[in-house]
Every structure is written in structure tokens, then in C-alpha cells.
């Protein structure tokens, strides 16, 4: 780990500028640790090399659990007393399918929410580190790290298209 790294945050007007800045920072061999944006930006995520989201697996797992638990619940409860209603079989899979379906959706959504919370790291208490309120407005915020020695260069580079907001020294 770099013991004398400086984290610089800067704000950019548009996605294009941001992307350009990222490229440039990368070219200099510095790291872009985070980009904050007011809207989702696929290209930025791509540029940062973020892989595909794994939220879907949570959702899928939830769905599978839901499907089987829906059926199981219906079947289990029906067999407690084996009551015959309307001459239908005690285990009537056809109507039970509706229960299973709803449970599938419900649990898939639970899975999805769980996936979102874990993947997003929410709720996050100290979100304010390196955060600028403009990022929820119309600005894109870059968080770049450079060796202390190169901090000024970095500032200059990002300062060309963006506004440098902060330059912190990070120890350890």
C-alpha cells in the first residue's frame, strides 16, 4: 500500500468529461478509486472495469426458495387435516401453483432487496467521505489517488476539465 497517497476529488460537468478525465488519469498511472454520478453511467462503470452485477443471483436464489416454500406451505398445511373441499384432491397442485408463483415473486424480491443492500453496501453511515453534494445534482465526482509526490500533477490534470474540490492525504 502506498503510505503517502493523496486522494483528490474533483467534479465534472458531463459524462464525457468524466470519461476523458478517467482516461487521462489512468494514462498517468494514477488510480481512479471511485466515481460518483447523479445518474447511472454505464460507460464510467465500464471504464472503471466493474464487472457484471451479481444482484441477479440473490434474486434467483430468492425465487427458487420462494417457489418451493410456496408449494411446501400449501401442501404441508393441506395435509394437516386432509379436508376435502369441493371434491378436489387434498394436494391440488393446480391451485397451489398460484401460491407458489406469488411466493416466488415475493421471495425473489426479498432476494433482490437483500442483494441490493449487500452489493450497494447500504445503509452506509459515513457516506460523506469524499462525497460532494453536487454529485446528486448535476456533477460527476471523481475520486483519484496518486502518490503524494504526484498530487499536484494530478490536481492540475483534473483541474483542466473539472473542478478540484479536495485533496486529502491518506496515511497508511
Amino acid at each position: 500500500m502506498n503510505t503517502h497517497a493523496t486522494t483528490i476529488t474533483a467534479l465534472f460537468k458531463s459524462e464525457e468529461d468524466t470519461l476523458a478525465a478517467i482516461r487521462e488519469i489512468r494514462e498517468h498511472g494514477w488510480q481512479v478509486t471511485e466515481v460518483r454520478s447523479p445518474v447511472p453511467a454505464e460507460r464510467i462503470a465500464e471504464a472503471l472495469g466493474r464487472g457484471k452485477s451479481r444482484v441477479g443471483w440473490f434474486t434467483f436464489a430468492g425465487g427458487v426458495i420462494g417457489f418451493f416454500s410456496g408449494f411446501s406451505l400449501a401442501a404441508f398445511t393441506a395435509t394437516r387435516w386432509d379436508l376435502i373441499v369441493s371434491g378436489k384432491p387434498v394436494l391440488s397442485w393446480i391451485p397451489f401453483f398460484i401460491i407458489a408463483f406469488e411466493f416466488t415473486i415475493l421471495f425473489a424480491v426479498f432476494g433482490n432487496v437483500l442483494g441490493l443492500l449487500t452489493q450497494l453496501g447500504l445503509p452506509e453511515k459515513d457516506y460523506e467521505t469524499n462525497y460532494h453534494e453536487e454529485c446528486s445534482g448535476d456533477m460527476y465526482g471523481i475520486e483519484a489517488v496518486a502518490d503524494q509526490s504526484e498530487a499536484e500533477r494530478l490536481k492540475e490534470v483534473v483541474g483542466r476539465t473539472g473542478t478540484v474540490k479536495r485533496a486529502d492525504r491518506m496515511d497508511e
Binding site: F60, S86, G87, I94, P95, F97, I98
Partner: protein, 412 residues
């Protein structure tokens, strides 16, 4: 660019003879095979296959064109290419209409209710009226379809060479029409709207008339809607199959982005769920209601051997399989996989048509059904007719296979 274009053109023209040879042979064999039982006392069996195939191919060709109209109507951006292929399916319309007229020759065998005491249903179920209304329905549907196609081709072909006969004819017509793209687009939208409307009405009507009424005791309000949803589903399956095949065929200069495949497959996935939903909606209501007037139909088809095997096949192939397989993004983007999925679903839908109709025709248990060689040959005959029609379209309008992104981009 131009060189390649002419190269394709030449290849198509050169190979035209051989291209049509196989489909023509298939059609001919199919026809002969159809005639054998038709004339030798197993007429029901023959007409059953005829009707099954007629409905499937008519449905899928109309359904495919519907895809194009929907895409146009909702101003979707991604679907320019597949819509072009889908429009090619309309080449089957004239064939379908002729096939419909031919159905008339077998009316005695086609309609199990003919000559029965219908307890008041005669007013609706009589052969002249049925042929009249369904014939008119098809005419309207096909006319609107061609009207739409005309406008669509205006956009696709207005700048292309007039190197085929049909193109030349069309070009002459184009001369006479407005040259204002906005206006044409508007008119195209109107045709699309009316086509969609007619599609729903005519497919419902023929669903009632040519499928539901075959068991003349049975009735289900959803059947019409189920029929046209099924037709769209079949249309999409066929469309995916054809686009994938074209995409995979190195000799044809047609390709589609994986994103477009994904979108198309997602739509297909969606319709498999809608089809499943409609199927279930009908089934659960009838199952739960337990009124024999309604249940006997589904009992015969889903709970009585041997038909129940077919029912399970349909259920697995047309719903479970696509549902599970198409959850995967990779498969959706892979034309190879989609060839398999598309053809399986089409086969499944063929069986589904056969399952709905079969018990009305084959009364004696064990008279054999299913994918016997004979059925396959006759079906292949219809497939031949369909292929020939689509190929002819491509031969006349090779432009729709054109891969250039610029042209596609200009359309909307």
C-alpha cells in the same frame, strides 16, 4: 459495398433454381402423402394434419408480421432488422389463403359438427357462413398486412436498385404515392394499427371457428385471445429461428447484434410466459369450475392417455423449457442456442395444435397419432410451401437481408 451487394444478388439468382428445388419437392411429397389417406378412407386423419399445419403456418406468418407492426407502432428502435425478416413471412399470406380455400373441399371431414344436431348452434356453425366470414376475415387481414408491408417496403426499398420484378412493380407504385416520409410513416402507423386490430379479431374468429368449434359442445371465452397470443408466440419462434439461421448462414450477408438477439429473445421469453399465462388462465378456471361441459374437453386432452403425453410435451417444450433456458442472458444472445429453442417451441406448438384438434377427429383409441413418418412428411410439405414463399420474398427483396447499418438507422 455495391460489389458485395451484386455478389449476393447474383448468388441468389444463380442458385434460385436449387433454392426452390428442395421446398418444392417437400411440398409435392407432402401433398401426395396427404392425398393418400384423404382418398383412401382416412380422410379425417388427413384433414387433421392439413388443418393443424394450416393453422400453425398461417398463425406464425400473421404473427410475425404482427411483430413488425407492434414494433413500428411502439416506435421501438432495436427491431429494424428482425422486422424486415418478419415482413418476409407475409409472403405466405397468399398461400395461406389458397390453403384456406382448399379446406372447403374437405368440409365434410373437416367439421365434425357437420350434419349433427347442434341444439341451436346451427345459426353460427354452418359451412357457408363459416367460410364466408372466415374468408372475408382472412382477406381483410391479408389486405391490411400487405398495405402495411407496402409502406414498410417504401422505406426499405425506395433507394434500392430495381433489380427484381417485384421491386420494379413496387417502384412503379412508389412513384405514384406521396414522397413525404412523414406522411408515409403516418399511413404506415394507421395500417399497423388496423392490422393489429384485424389480427386480434380474425385470429380470434378463426380460433373459435376452426379450432374451438371442432368440439362443438365446448366453449371458452379466452380461446380467441389464446389463439392470437399463440400465433404471436409461434411467429416469434419462427422469426427467431429464421433470423438465427440467416445470421448463422455464412452465405447470407445478414447478421444481427447480440443485443438485438437478446431483445428479440427477451420478447420471445415474455410471450412464452404470456402464452403460459393464457394457457393456465383457461385451465385453472375450467379445472376449478368442474363443469363437465367445459372439463370434458381438457380431460380428454390433458388427463386421458394417449393425449396426455402430448399435453405434457407441449407444456414442457413451450413453457418450462423456454422459461428456464431463456433466463440465461448468454443463451438469449446465442443464435445457435436460439435455433434449438425456436425450433423446439415451433414443434411444441405444432403438437399443441394437433392436441387441440386431434381428439375431435381420431375417435377410436389407439388409431395412432403423433410424430409418425406420415405426419412428418405432410408437415414437411407445408414447411416446404412456407419456405418457398419466404425464399421467394427474399429473392425479390434481397435488400431486407442487407446488413448495412446506415440504412437501418435511417428508417425511423
Amino acid at each position: 459495398m455495391n460489389d458485395m451487394e451484386t455478389a449476393v444478388k447474383e448468388r441468389i439468382e444463380k442458385k434460385s433454381g436449387s433454392i426452390f428445388l428442395i421446398p418444392a419437392l417437400m411440398a409435392l411429397t407432402g401433398f401426395v402423402f396427404f392425398l393418400v389417406p384423404a382418398l383412401s378412407g382416412h380422410a379425417e386423419k388427413a384433414w387433421l394434419i392439413y388443418l393443424t399445419n394450416f393453422l400453425l403456418f398461417t398463425g406464425l406468418s400473421a404473427g410475425a408480421l404482427l411483430f413488425s407492426t407492434i414494433m413500428h407502432f411502439t416506435r421501438a428502435r432495436w427491431s429494424h432488422k428482425p422486422a424486415g425478416i418478419a415482413e418476409a413471412f407475409s409472403a405466405f399470406f397468399p398461400v395461406s389463403f389458397v390453403l384456406f380455400l382448399l379446406l372447403f373441399t374437405g368440409y365434410g371431414h373437416v367439421f365434425p359438427w357437420a350434419g349433427q344436431d347442434l341444439h341451436g348452434k346451427e345459426v353460427w356453425l354452418n359451412i357457408p357462413f363459416l367460410f364466408l366470414r372466415d374468408g372475408i376475415g382472412f382477406l381483410i387481414l391479408y389486405a391490411l398486412g400487405f398495405g402495411y408491408l407496402f409502406h414498410s417496403l417504401w422505406f426499405r426499398l425506395k433507394d434500392s436498385d430495381r433489380n427484381t420484378r417485384l421491386k420494379r412493380i413496387l417502384a412503379a407504385r412508389f412513384e405514384k404515392t406521396d414522397h413525404d416520409a412523414e406522411k408515409m410513416k403516418k399511413r404506415m402507423t394507421v395500417f399497423a394499427g388496423w392490422y393489429m386490430f384485424a389480427f386480434a379479431m380474425v385470429l380470434s374468429l378463426t380460433g373459435f371457428d376452426l379450432v374451438m368449434s371442432m368440439d362443438y359442445h365446448w366453449f371458452s371465452t379466452l380461446f380467441g385471445a389464446y389463439s392470437f397470443i399463440k400465433a404471436i408466440f409461434a411467429g416469434l419462434a419462427a422469426l427467431i429461428l429464421v433470423t438465427s439461421l440467416l445470421h448463422l448462414n455464412p452465405k447470407v450477408r445478414f447478421s444481427m447484434s447480440s443485443k438485438a438477439f437478446r431483445d428479440l429473445s427477451t420478447l420471445f421469453f415474455g410471450f412464452s410466459i404470456v402464452w403460459g399465462d393464457f394457457f393456465y388462465s383457461q385451465f385453472v378456471v375450467i379445472w376449478y369450475g368442474n363443469i363437465p361441459e367445459e372439463t370434458s374437453y381438457i380431460i380428454e386432452r390433458t388427463m386421458t392417455e394417449p393425449w396426455s403425453y402430448l399435453a405434457w410435451t407441449v407444456f414442457l417444450v413451450c413453457f418450462i423449457m423456454p422459461f428456464l433456458v431463456l433466463l440465461s442472458r448468454k443463451i438469449k444472445e446465442s443464435p445457435k442456442c436460439m435455433v434449438v429453442v425456436g425450433s423446439l417451441v415451433l414443434a411444441g406448438l405444432w403438437v399443441e395444435h394437433y392436441l387441440l384438434l386431434g381428439p375431435c377427429y381420431l375417435h377410436e383409441p389407439g388409431t395412432g397419432f403423433g410424430a409418425g413418418a406420415w405426419e412428418i412428411v405432410v408437415t414437411a410439405g407445408f414447411l416446404g410451401l412456407f419456405t418457398a414463399a419466404v425464399l421467394a420474398y427474399f429473392r425479390q427483396f434481397p435488400d431486407v437481408l442487407d446488413n448495412s447499418p446506415e440504412k437501418g438507422g435511417q428508417w425511423k
